[in-house]
Symmetry: C2
């Protein structure tokens, strides 16, 4: 499965910078680097230098000087990929980066595919598959919570959990299969009730992991927030105000940029995914025409619902509408936003605050246009999803591939439990247990195919 | 002038990538890195590790694991800045980069200003000022010719030339000043005719260097090309065709991107700067109204003039116009483009080809719309400015600050020559020589002020 070619790629972000790194990994990494690199300080060949050392020198293409560089030397197996690695740190000109890359290729290296360095780390046993996947998550992580999940997974936290489950299942399988060997004699090595207890415990753990995916997905992809409300109550103004507020709030973290999708906003390190306003406008129409049932699907995907109201108008119809909508919201965190507080009467404000049916609801008075009280709203939204409460050892599944494998493993273990209860034969039991083991093995890569690997690593950046 | 603080910055291009480098330089670089870095392999402190070594470990913020990193250790004075340098190679997540940067700052480093690492290299005597400036040029270089100038300058080629001139001038100054010491006795140590010869030689060299700036500027900023011609002859179509052609031609050099200015095009590694079409349209009007004198200023800045004509119409008035315009073009390379060849009569083509007054002109038949023969035009344009003919040792001035200093130095040496010829007193001679020395000293930074340095380094990227 592991090809023996030497691969190279620019590993730093694309573009111009002070420094760029070109990474070279494989059996011939050092020999290829040797062909284009010269050190003024030493006649020693790179291959004869100690591992984990730095060497200043020049890169030449024939007689043409390309750059002055620093070369980092890592030797197999003590490197990221487990192979010899040479990293060339050059001036961050795009032209120089390309010239060096072309030189390496013309001297026998080939351009690495996306994620190929990490793939080699996996194939050389430096990390398991879920750890390799965490490398990509770590690089993509844009906030504290996503970073925490990714680094814990990269360090093997999730793998340990899966391996514990596998160990228990393997013991289980051994008992059942031992029984099969002696099936002629009709003995029962495995105590059926103990087996049921064990498989139920495994099922509970798998269930817990699959259920954690909802949170993991939210952490990784942003907290879905639905902004609902009639037209002209200030939904767009609010969204724009939040967009701008973000700049003020995250200004101490330079470069924490918004996602390409317009409505994903990083507010103080927490990612919020605002649902499409077009959909919300439709939703609003439906609410107005009392067709709220159909808009409910939209709301169901949200973790937080921001119900925006304009309290500068008549208050009684507004209260009626709020109550109607509130009834339709069950699992989500509802925040009622009383907008245009700056032009609303004190009487309206009091009526809303003191309305008995809303006493247990979160209510915030704002003026989106002038940004009055936006900070209170943001704090409310952040409190609505408290990532900090996740324990340091708690395992949260955030990868959809893992979620699917866990779901399949859970189905398999449920079949085992059913089988034990209905007393099916050891053959079938063993088969279901093997199936469960297979899916768990897919997560860590004990079981893997080229197809799975190809699918995983194609989403990596080149150079990692 | 050199402050003692420890500075840090992200040195790799901004954004997400496989690897990012955070660079730390200064007296406390190692101690500050020590506070947040832990190696699992060694209890030894970083400060006790050998210089030029690599160390794998973790970066922690209190108990929170930020990343697994590789640290490069350089010790003063054997580093880029001449100070202790620690480079932290982390996963290229923007979040991680910012976290590490904030950690370094909260542990006593401060954010580096643009170019501050290179500025320290200059202040610590690792390079002179023209070499430091070449670092920025090298990073910005986007083609072979600009790269060649920048790397030669960074390696000290230009500095050697300037220093030779300074040495000669200093010898000259010494002779004149010795004379001044003995002025009571009315002796003449310095032979006036030998002095005239020496200063004339220096003047010639300075003249040659200032004159090279035209070429240097063209290499660095692109070859100015004026596209002229009446409306509807296909100027825009030609420019668009060249823009598209470029993609095909430079596709083997990924990332060689066009400048932000719309009309700077990198064609096969050569930068062409097409002059503003708005101006050309005005020029065209003026040509039509025979007001060609005023448009001449536009043309004068160009190295190449592309005269676009439509040969699908009547040929005689076209020939008359071409001849008139040709007379106005002196220093520039003129290329006459006969466009719309696909719908022109063979007779028109022949008349143009065989027109006696144009026998020594470059003429190319194209059809811009279908891109027919565009490649021939591009080859013609590339031959018009032959950068490859620049000798390996030839010094080309490409920096406007150097050009200005050389121009002032040249004026000063001219005053010296005049003074020698008119027999002015040694005092005045010495003063003019000192002035010449001063301007040459500004180039290499023998003479420098905070203002000059501030101006130079503010154009660098942060992290270099």
């Amino acid at each position: 499965m592991l090809d023996q070619s030497t691969i190279c790629a620019i590993s730093t972000p694309p573009g111009i910078g002070g420094i760029a790194i070109i990474r070279l990994s494989g059996k011939e990494a050092i020999q290829i680097a040797e062909k284009i690199f010269q050190s003024p300080a030493s006649d020693k060949k790179l291959a004869d230098q100690r591992a984990n050392t730095l060497h200043f020198g020049t890169i030449k293409s024939g007689d043409i000087l390309i750059d002055e560089v620093v070369v980092s030397l890592f030797k197999a197996p003590h490197s990221f990929t487990g192979e010899d690695i040479v990293e060339i740190s050059c001036h961050g000109s795009v032209y120089i980066q390309q010239m060096i890359l072309q030189l390496l290729i013309s001297n026998g290296a080939r351009l690495a595919r996306p994620g190929e360095f990490t793939q080699r780390a996996f194939l050389n046993g430096k990390m398991d598959l879920s750890q390799a996947e965490a490398v990509a998550d770590l690089i993509a992580s844009g906030n504290a919570a996503a970073h925490k999940l990714a680094i814990s997974q990269m360090r093997g936290g999730f793998s340990r959990e899966i391996n514990q489950l596998r160990t228990e299942l393997l013991r289980f399988a051994a008992l059942v299969e031992l029984e099969l060997d002696f099936s002629e004699e009709d003995v029962e090595f495995a105590d059926r009730s103990a087996l049921i207890e064990l498989s139920t415990r495994i099922a509970t753990l798998l269930k817990k992991l699959t259920e954690s995916f909802r949170l993991g997905n939210v952490i990784k992809n942003g907290i879905p927030v639905a902004i609902i409300g009639e037209t002209n109550v200030g939904k767009s103004t609010l969204l724009n105000a939040l967009l701008n507020e973000e700049k003020a709030i995250v200004s101490d973290i330079h470069g924490t940029t918004r996602d390409v999708i317009e409505d994903v906003i990083n507010i103080g390190g927490t990612l919020f995914r605002f649902s499409d306003t077009a959909g919300i406008r439709e939703t609003t129409d439906l609410i107005e025409s009392m067709g709220i049932e159909r808009s409910y699907n939209q709301l169901e995907k949200a973790e937080i619902v921001l119900l925006v109201t304009d309290i500068s108008g008549p208050i009684q119809p507004l209260l009626d509408r709020i109550v109607k909508i509130r009834e339709k919201i069950t699992g989500q965190q509802l925040i009622i936003i009383a907008n245009k507080v700056d032009i609303a009467s004190v009487d309206s404000q009091n009526q809303l605050s003191e309305f008995p049916l809303l006493q247990n609801e979160k209510l915030v008075f704002i003026a989106a246009k002038s940004r009055a009280n936006l900070d209170e709203l943001i704090q409310m939204m952040k409190r609505a999803v408290d990532f900090d409460s996740i324990g340091p050892e708690e395992i949260i599944v955030s990868n959809v591939r893992h979620y699917e494998a866990l779901t399949l493993a859970f189905s398999a273990i449920e079949k085992v439990i059913d089988g034990l209860k209905t007393g099916i034969s050891g053959d079938f039991l063993a088969q279901d247990i093997r199936e469960c083991l297979h899916y768990l093995g897919e997560i860590t890569g004990e079981v893997s195919t080229d197809e799975i690997l190809g699918h995983i690593f194609k989403h990596f950046c080149i150079g990692k």
